[in-house]
Amino acid sequence: MITLAMLTWFAGAIVGHDLVLFPLYAAVDRLLVRVRAVNYLRVPLAGCGLTFLLFLPGIVRQGEPTFQAATGLDQQPYLARWLLVCAALFAGSALVYLLRRVIRWSAGAARRG
């Protein structure tokens, strides 16, 4: 049976995206664009945000009793794993940034002779 809670979550999903999530990430992005190499922050941050949204229950350990009953495992590792995923995204981005700087610098040096 369709319940009031379902309708509330339906409306809540729209409000949550349009009036909470979108303004939030748009505001963060407005702050980010002040940085010169914005995309090297924007891309890993988007990855962190996306994985946080999708895998939130494990990361914040929500619904642990049903999780345990279903899997026989706990949710203990997920926060650390998510932080590692984020660290890997930022490290990868930093590496690409550095490599591009080095390539540009050496190309410039070669031109200068």
Binding site: A5, W9, L50, T51, Q62
Partner: protein, 453 residues
Amino acid sequence: VPADRPLQGDQPRSVLDVTSNMRLAGLPRSLPRSLSRHAERRARALWRSPLRGPWLTSVFGVTLLVALPLVVVTGLLDYLAYGPRFGQAFPVAVGPLHLPVFDWPTRPSWLFQLTEGLHVGLGLVLVPVILAKLWSVVPRLFGWPPVRSFGHLVERLTVVPLVGGILFEVVTGVLNIQYDYVFGFDFYTAHYFGAWVFLAGFIAHVLVKFPAMVRGLRSRSLRAELRTPLSRTRPETPPSEPDSLVAASPAAPTISRRGLLAMAGGGSLLVAALSVGQTVDGLRRTAVLLPRGRTVDDGPTGFPINRTASAAGVGPDEVQTWRLTLTGGPSAVTLDRAALAGLPQHTAELPIACVEGWSTTQTWTGVRLVELAALAGVPTPGSALVRSLERGGAFSAAWLTGEQLRDPDALLATHVNGVPLSLDHGFPARVVVPALPGVHCTKWVGSIDFRTA
């Protein structure tokens, strides 16, 4: 170039042209004029991305137009796989929204693994595209006036089931695959009816917007876009119609159009990389953030469990005195473990696949179900009800069709990978049938009631 400096160029003063729209809505002109000037100023200040435009929205739109029907169809197939004929597909009462019922086949044995894997996997992978699509059209949500004409009202109303439906399905689905029931309502009911609400909105939206999408896609060349770096990225040409997605006063770009497409696609790839391990045994550990990326141990029974014995209320006491009861024939037949082991044994490599989007393929050994049917005195069974020792729970009993019972690989398994089942995997005996949803592969089987029809 600082981002907050408007890009100079061939932009018209305003593409919103709100005052003329107000007249369309039949409103008095004096009040709306100041309101609309305010709205126009606000829109100019708010919506400044130089990337938004009909072409970009159409690219995300056509991606979803191709992929989302696959998610919907595989989802509805999963409902059918549960066997609505026996009243065991949830929700049971669907009113006029029932599907054409057919008996779920047993071949190919990976059929359910494929449909549920696609449903959940593709659903997850599309989340970045859905978010990008919503980002690309978000100025529309705050457009002023909110309603310009009857046609515009209809178009706006179809967006409610479309956007609400997709977000609701994503949220409930994502929570369900992680066993988080924070919403407090029945997942199956919500996800099923939510799907129909979304489908209605989706079809209406496609009917209304398809021509605009085709125009949008034709307005620029994808190949040319993929060769355009940030330094040459310019806003799309605003079309003549009102409430264009192209910013009236665009800021300088901070990312190229191909960069944004790569970001959305990269998000999808990231999600794919983090989910594929749910289904592919060799890559299990790569699903680091999902429940099914882990195994209980490295042994032959370490593969993922769907419901623990303790959660099902089955302990060592219940299985110590275990007997299997077969009914449906002239008289009930009771077997203990030794008697079951004395029957012809058969081994099959079969997947266990769950609606939560994960699956695992293992090598099962046991007695063919058709053998047990013959023993019970029903040599050509038309259906059977398998009951578990577990107490309560929505899946403590399951109906199987005649085709499922007669499949040569349909087993009452006692062993997996050469060792006896662990208690969590259904010791002393569990059902394993090709292409059968995991929850119907009943564990801790206590009795099977065979029927001729």
